[in-house]
Symmetry: C2
Subunit: 266 residues, 2 copies
Amino acid sequence: MSGTRFSLNQWTARHWPLPELVETCAREGVGAGLWREPVREYGLERAAKLVRDAGLDVTSLCRGGFFTTAAGLDDNRRAIDEAAALGTAVLVLVSGGLPDGSRDLDGARERVADALAELAPYAGERGVRLAIEPLHPMYCSDRCVISTLGQAIDLASRFPVEQVGVCVDTYHVWWDPAVWADIARAPGRIAAFQVADWTTPLPAGVLTGRGLLGDGCVELRRFREAVDTAGYTGPVEAEIFNEELWAMPGEDVLALVRARYEEHVV
Amino acid sequence: MSGTRFSLNQWTARHWPLPELVETCAREGVGAGLWREPVREYGLERAAKLVRDAGLDVTSLCRGGFFTTAAGLDDNRRAIDEAAALGTAVLVLVSGGLPDGSRDLDGARERVADALAELAPYAGERGVRLAIEPLHPMYCSDRCVISTLGQAIDLASRFPVEQVGVCVDTYHVWWDPAVWADIARAPGRIAAFQVADWTTPLPAGVLTGRGLLGDGCVELRRFREAVDTAGYTGPVEAEIFNEELWAMPGEDVLALVRARYEEHVV
């Protein structure tokens, strides 16, 4: 495998055609985190063959989850199957927000635990680990009722460590006064590590506007050192939802983000 | 005093001229939380006389703080003096975000504690209680490094209970899985209670867009019951930054928000 831990999450170079992304990342010796939608659009079997032929390290598949709203368990089992087909060991899970019109946040959180109980053995049998990703609390109502790393770790800890872990994404957890202690208490539970920076002002809808590494206020290197100290040895995925990056050619995105990674994360 | 705990925060009816707001709230038997900027614009002494003459219950003054960036201790001492002049027992404090270009979040949080140590006795001598308000984590970098109720309570607990408390604002803390336990461990520390609802999508800049009571997903009544159970007996201030409310005549805002309060909070 490559000598770098750097991995490009596909959504960072959102409009890069899959074959070019796969071929370039493999040639450059970096991994890539793939997304279900573009993989399905290209065709799962074709995508899996691309990846195998290129020798790409698929560092994660994004994403399963959305238990509390639309997606059912069947769709999540498919996501696990897709991860296995792509040869990645990690399926990132975003839990989903509150059902329309609901105010039952505690209930929604419990439903996430129920869904994990159904899915964890299925994932384990296929060599895929579920990575619960806490999203920033500003997404709590509409995307993800799991809002802190502590909450994600507590949830993961109900299941065997090889079946369920957490995804630490700096963009979502950097503000949390408990985050350093939570990372330290999570040895073995960190299944994925993603980096993006925090910048303001936030755009309408707050879905884009994530900062290029080094452009914001997140202590990126401190996070990388903290997960390392907790025993995490896996890839470092740059996942940056940013309109300016999306307007650039994929190869340029890769070069720019990787350079920023070397400067601010390594 | 009035038979209701309802209080209208001035920023909810942001463009209502101060004399009308004071006179109407007093006549309706509700309190009002005032803001420093419009009070200064009107003149502190004149505003204090208005309030006294009308017999208005000033439930808080917003806001001191911003320790980590622009405002110095002198400005905060002035805020305490203004609160005393207006006859309110509560000065709401928003800590401030990270200094420009800084990534030292721990340091910024420690500076808040240092500033409180300077100000708390000064406030206590004037009969004013400092209410540390945690803001939603989406404001952590640019407005308020105090991001959870637990953090605010821990900070307040370093000081005498009559000098420093916390402000529980449902908009900022509703997502927090620890919030119910934190409210329960805060007896005597809750200095102010503010209500607004959470709705999405968030507007650009995320400063406005707070939901009218009942329009969002916050368990407002559960919060009111929780602070009551923790021993809080003070006013319930509706503080809703919302462009639609700002476009309405003040008297209509008061009637609408109070009706929603009766329906969703009482």
